[in-house]
Amino acid sequence: MPRYRSFMMLCLIALFGLLLNACASTPPDKERLAAEAAFAQAEPAKDCASLKYQSAEEMLNQARRLETQAEYDEARKHYNVAKKLAEEAHDSALTQTDCLREHGYADEEMESSTEETDENGPNVGSAGTPATAEHDDYNLEMVHFPFDSYELTDETREILGRHVEWMVKNKALVRLVGHCDERGSAEYNLALGEQRAFEVRQYLIQNGVPMDDLEIVSMGEEKPLSYEHSEEAYAQNRRVEFVKQGFREEP
């Protein structure tokens, strides 16, 4: 899967580059249709798609707004990002088998969707070149926390160190999404999730990531990765996720 995904993304970016050159000032019809298709595919499993689905939706809306303002190039970029986010949302949702089951998706449904995305990879890929590979195949691995804590462990610092390197090099714009396990009040957990994202941001800034490249949102206990009620599930759910928002343009 990871290989497919990175390959697919790579190809998408290449494709995006080609298209950008080919039709600079015409309405981005192709991109819109592609983004909408990806979005429609992710939609049925949106409840299990973490924050990526929301981001895709936001991006799609922005793209539509830009298109109505005849900002076609900007719109095109936004559609492409929306498409990518929607695809990622779809992929990540498919790994949440507990969640899918809870929301009543049949097992066959999940499998058939998986096949579909797998087939897409090579098809799109045949048109692409690996020119901008470095940009996207880096996985901004999430970091985890102890119970009722926002302390960064040594392991977390090590992971964050790698993220800093990539983010600085690529001028990446990233949203930090803080999460908690289900125990404790929803209200307190919103603050705890925010504090976790806040601590991560502090660390990233101290190590050279520009503050403006980072944004924070807390999901509290509202978007668990695992719906089980075990210590392992809780540990998995106490996390900060990194959602790529694009790349900073040079002034």
């Binding site: 409840d47 929301q54 404790g184 009040s185 209200e187 603050a191």
Partner: protein, 446 residues
């Protein structure tokens, strides 16, 4: 068998509480007043007869419904012990609803002290109900009210009369027309769920398929503040408490805009904001403007609630290392820590009489239960034990009951109980999980 024993006990209990011939009003209930520390949960025995049908050839169903609603109200109120209708000896068909036509000797044998009788007329879809409260021992009529309207209003008529009954005995307003809002988790989304206090006539709001959280009533009972992610950020919104209504934004500052609660004078909100980089408690105007910061620490400060006199705010802070309940003067000054037992205390809710703060604590077995802390003495009282997890307490506006969420029956549902933890009753039974209840106010005109 159990009823029989209970009734005997009650006879004795009433003899002690209401000695005949004493100066104490023959049928008033001792209730906690002001800052009185002794809380008395009364079990005043009362009976409600099936409503008599005065309309020929009509269904008797309404009469049963009316009886059920009144019995349920009085039982839930925390003031009364309702006598089981199986023990009633008088025949509703051969008796009436006046002093002369009620057989009080038959009612005396049930052990009841108070008696509600009612009759109804149904004509061309218009319902007329007459309800009467009698004192059984004296055979005297105490209250008589007539209500008229569409058949669908029967529940409201009963709630209004139940309010009158409570006011008659306790000199306090009843809560039978109040509502409770909670969050319903269903099919992966969270919406607001509004019901009558007894769990009836529910409807959903903010049902946008997203995440909607932490509802809190405005003082007029007509709108609800809550936090929604509909724009991606946890913003504070306000929505009219009417089916199908649309929300408007109150505070969308960067970061959290959560946990708003309206001040007792209705002019301000207290809420948690993280706009200054860390979660702090702020007081704003009712429209979310002019934030004034109340806390100042590098730790988490969250979950604020007002004292009933509006001079203080209780909140949760982990400034000592673990979440504990604190209170601060609205005028400023360092906060006072209230809880010292346990290492996970959250969700404070101040009692309407101002004496106690209910909260959720995690005990040594890692189970969540409800407790109260006395604001003066810091004395802790436990309200729930050995019944699943119990969280998110909210007081009824008369201070007689606490609503909360509990998973003791499997999933999280809303329950209510007396303020000493007795008589827990589940009031939501719809599909889904229900959390963070907030009990609405007694509104004017009730």
């Amino acid at each position: 068998m159990r009823i029989q024993g209970l009734r005997r006990f009650l006879f004795l209990f009433c003899l002690v509480l209401f000695p005949s011939g004493a100066a104490l009003a023959e049928d008033s209930i001792e209730v906690p007043m002001g800052t009185a520390k002794g809380r008395v949960i009364s079990d005043y025995p009362i009976a409600v007869a099936e409503f008599k049908n005065f309309t020929p050839k009509q269904t008797a169903e309404l009469g049963k419904t009316g009886q059920d609603v009144l019995l349920s109200d009085l039982a839930l109120s925390g003031y009364f012990l309702t006598i089981d209708p199986k023990a009633y000896l008088e025949d509703v068909r051969t008796s009436g609803i006046t002093e002369a036509t009620v057989d009080f000797t038959k009612w005396l044998q049930t052990g009841a002290e108070g008696l509600v009788k009612a009759g109804f007329w149904l004509k061309d879809g218009t319902l007329k109900v007459e309800m009467v409260l009698f004192s059984i021992s004296t055979g005297k009529e105490k209250i008589r009210k007539t209500y008229e309207g569409p058949e669908s209003k029967l529940r409201d008529f009963c709630h209004r009369f139940a309010n009158d009954v409570v006011r008659y005995y306790t000199k306090r307003p009843g809560i039978f027309l109040t509502k409770i809002v909670s969050v319903r988790k269903h099919k992966g989304s969270k919406s607001l769920w509004i019901c009558d206090f007894d769990g009836q006539r529910c409807f959903s709001l903010a049902n946008d398929g997203g995440i909607n959280l932490l509802p809190s009533w405005n003082l007029d009972g007509r709108s609800i503040f809550y936090t929604s992610y509909q724009k991606g950020n946890p913003d504070l919104w306000r929505i009219p408490a009417v089916e199908g209504s649309k929300p408007s934004i109150v505070s969308n500052r960067r970061g959290l805009n959560v946990g708003a609660e309206v001040s007792p004078n209705g002019k301000q909100l207290v809420m948690t904001l993280t706009k200054d980089g860390n979660s702090e408690i702020y007081i704003t105007s009712i429209d979310g403007k002019h934030p004034k910061r109340l806390t100042n620490s590098w730790s988490i400060d969250s979950s604020p609630c007002w004292s009933p006199d509006g001079t203080r705010v209780a909140f949760v802070s982990n400034r000592s290392g673990t979440p504990q309940i604190y209170m601060a003067d609205v005028g400023g000054g360092p906060p006072t820590r209230l809880t010292f037992q346990g290492n996970y205390n959250q969700s404070p809710s101040w009692s309407p009489d101002g004496d106690r703060i209910a909260f959720t604590g995690r005990d040594e077995r890692l189970v969540f239960d409800l407790f109260t802390v006395d604001v003066e003495t810091r004395e802790i009282e436990r309200l729930t034990q050995d019944a699943g997890n119990n969280e998110d307490p909210t007081w009824s506006p008369d201070g007689q009951l606490i609503a909360f969420s509990s998973n003791r029956s499997g999933e999280y549902k809303i329950w209510i109980m007396n303020t000493d933890g007795s008589h827990p009753r589940q009031i939501t039974d719809a599909e889904g999980e229900f959390t963070t209840p907030n009990w609405g106010p007694i509104t004017k005109g009730e």
